[in-house]
């Protein structure tokens, strides 16, 4: 699970998290007491609203300046984000 979540946990953390996860999972299994057949899942709070009411006007706007966009990145070069090697040889 830690690998899927891109977290490099220490051995100590793995033990601790496994214990917490098992107690939380035990707790959330409580939902199985409820019969939800025939209930539509609710992904979002929805109101009576025109279907296109949430669409903004599609117009060109000035973008963030490049220097602002990369300004908080830890490593940049020539206006680009820089990352370690992606493909190992």
């Amino acid at each position: 699970m830690a690998e899927l979540a891109n977290l490099a946990l220490s051995e100590h953390e793995v033990a601790h998290m496994a214990q917490d996860m098992s107690s939380i999972l035990t707790y959330i299994n409580k939902l199985n007491e409820l019969d939800t057949s025939g209930v539509e899942p609710m992904a979002q709070v929805l109101f009576e609203q025109d279907e296109t009411a949430t669409l903004r006007v599609d117009e060109v706007r000035p973008p963030l300046a490049n220097s602002d966009a990369v300004g908080s990145a830890p490593v940049t070069s020539a206006g680009y984000f820089k990352v370690p090697k992606v493909i190992e040889r």
Partner: protein
């Protein structure tokens, strides 16, 4: 301790004093900043002060007044802002060490609106890391101490914003609420806190935790000030597709103290097993509402017992995907040791996130993974629909639902940190309203025998903030005289 220069000040009284030239916005800002900086070591409520920005806004307010122009609805009001809401050029940490040096390149819409109305942002407040917590103990910058009792938590996750209003280091503040993160700290610190209808306030610039549940909401010492701040920040924003176009009423204009004949519902499930120190002041508040003419009815929200399990599945699932953006590439610090891209992600995130964020990312990843998605995530979405139906049904017969905010008052720092499930249970009464997306607020309703504040929760139908505020204000008038 010297008295706060903000003691007793409200949005209306500051405006009147500015127009009468009793003090200038610049003078008020300077004394507010000096006091807040001097008092901060007591509570750790602020992480960053923004004097330059505050003074620039204050001077603009003074210039408007000098020119005879309207200085705006929040003219000169010192405001504190939770550090999960981005402020251009002012450090925004989200309570995380990953963002210790993040200076956002833009302002959240709520920030833009607040400053356009003349509100003066004096600083950014401490909170649980990425708004995940109920005690403010999950901040990488140390816990906030409750100004009412310094050995206790202020609640969370917007602990610093609640503490700041209670400590009078700001007049009003902004927090964010996903499962109770405005209402619960408001109740712990003895101030008013509002979670508006889902979509009422733009979340553009609010760092996302659980997007189907996140709200920005105000804190204030009075119901009227909370209503005034909400009016300023509410309304459609083209930058947030989930913000709604429903018109924003003048909430404060409706606060006439008259709630004769208003039907209010008391959900019986919210009182089962509730300790007397909390149930007594809440019951007294309900009696006071009766005395001012409300009709009290018993209602039922039968799925209360399932709300926490439902909420944590949905919130953790959404959090695990929202927090994927903190990857060491764009705006966070990066682990120095990583040689490859995959290592950089893993080590940066392991070093940067605190335990609670990791716990929620892992659980969220689990409930969304193949084979478990239907059993957990879809199941929780179905239970969410049942909870929303409970509210819709109750609001067929009553205009407002009143209940406790939290099952217990502010607890001691360290008391619940080792038991995540016990910590999650502190959100039991606030979570149902969050899942249904209805407006809810906490208004102070007295104290426990130990002198700790207790909050009364008032919930109303979608977009009926006016009814919620009217009831809260009428109650406040009754008890404060």
């Amino acid at each position: 301790m010297s008295m706060s220069p903000l003691e007793g000040l409200t949005i209306d009284s500051i405006r009147a004093s500015l127009l009468d030239k009793k003090f200038s916005a610049e003078e008020l800002t300077k004394s507010a900043l000096a006091y807040a900086e001097a008092e901060n070591s007591k509570t750790n409520a602020f992480l960053t002060f923004s004097p330059e920005r505050a003074l620039a806004t204050a001077r603009a307010v003074d210039e408007k007044i000098a020119r005879g122009e309207d200085p705006g609805k929040l003219a000169g009001v010192p405001v504190a802002v939770k550090d999960v809401i981005v402020t251009k050029g002012v450090r925004t940490t989200c309570g995380s060490r990953l963002l210790a040096q993040y200076h956002p390149p833009y302002d959240a819409t709520a920030i833009v609106r607040l400053e356009q109305a003349g509100g003066v942002i004096i600083g950014k407040t401490n909170c649980d890391e990425f708004a995940m917590g109920s005690s403010n103990e999950n901040s990488a910058y140390g816990p906030v101490r409750n100004p009412v009792a310094l050995d206790r938590v202020p609640g969370g996750s917007s602990g610093g914003s609640a503490a700041s209003v209670a400590q009078k280091t700001s007049v009003v503040s902004l927090g964010s609420d996903t499962g109770g993160s405005v209402r619960q700290p408001a109740s712990f610190c003895g101030v008013s806190g509002v979670t508006p209808t889902y979509g009422r306030v733009s979340r553009y610039g609010l760092t996302a935790y659980a997007s189907s549940l996140d709200h920005i909401g105000p804190f204030a010492s009075t119901v009227r000030d909370a209503a005034k701040l909400l009016e300023v920040i509410a309304g459609k924003d083209p930058m947030d597709a989930t913000s709604t176009s429903a018109p924003v009423p003048d909430y404060a204009a409706a606060l006439d103290g008259n709630v004769k004949g208003m039907k209010i519902g008391v959900p019986k499930e919210f009182f089962q097993g509730l300790a007397e120190e909390t149930s007594k002041p809440v019951q007294a508040a309900i009696d006071a509402m009766k005395a001012i003419g409300c009709e009290v009815h018993e209602v039922s929200l039968p799925h209360l017992d399932y709300a926490i399990a439902c909420y944590y599945i949905i919130a953790m699932a959404e959090a695990s995907s929202n927090l994927a953006r903190f990857d060491g590439v764009r705006y966070t610090s990066r682990a120095a040791s990583a040689a490859t891209l995959a290592d950089m992600y893993r080590v940066t995130r392991d070093e940067g996130f605190g335990a609670e964020c990791k716990r929620r990312i892992l659980l969220g990843t689990y409930v969304l993974s193949a084979g478990y998605y239907d059993a957990y995530y879809v199941k929780a979405q179905k239970v969410r629909a049942l909870i929303a139906q409970d509210y819709a049904k109750a609001f067929e017969t009553v205009e407002a639902i009143v209940s406790p905010v939290s099952p217990f008052p502010a607890f001691k720092i360290g008391e619940k940190v080792d038991d995540p499930v016990a910590m999650y249970l502190s959100d039991i009464y606030t979570i149902t309203g969050s899942l249904a997306g209805v407006p809810c607020m906490s208004v102070p309703c007295g104290t426990t025998p130990d002198g700790l504040p207790v909050g009364l929760q008032i919930a109303a139908k979608h977009f009926n903030e006016t009814g919620m505020f009217r009831l809260a204000d009428a109650y406040e008038r009754r008890v404060t005289g």
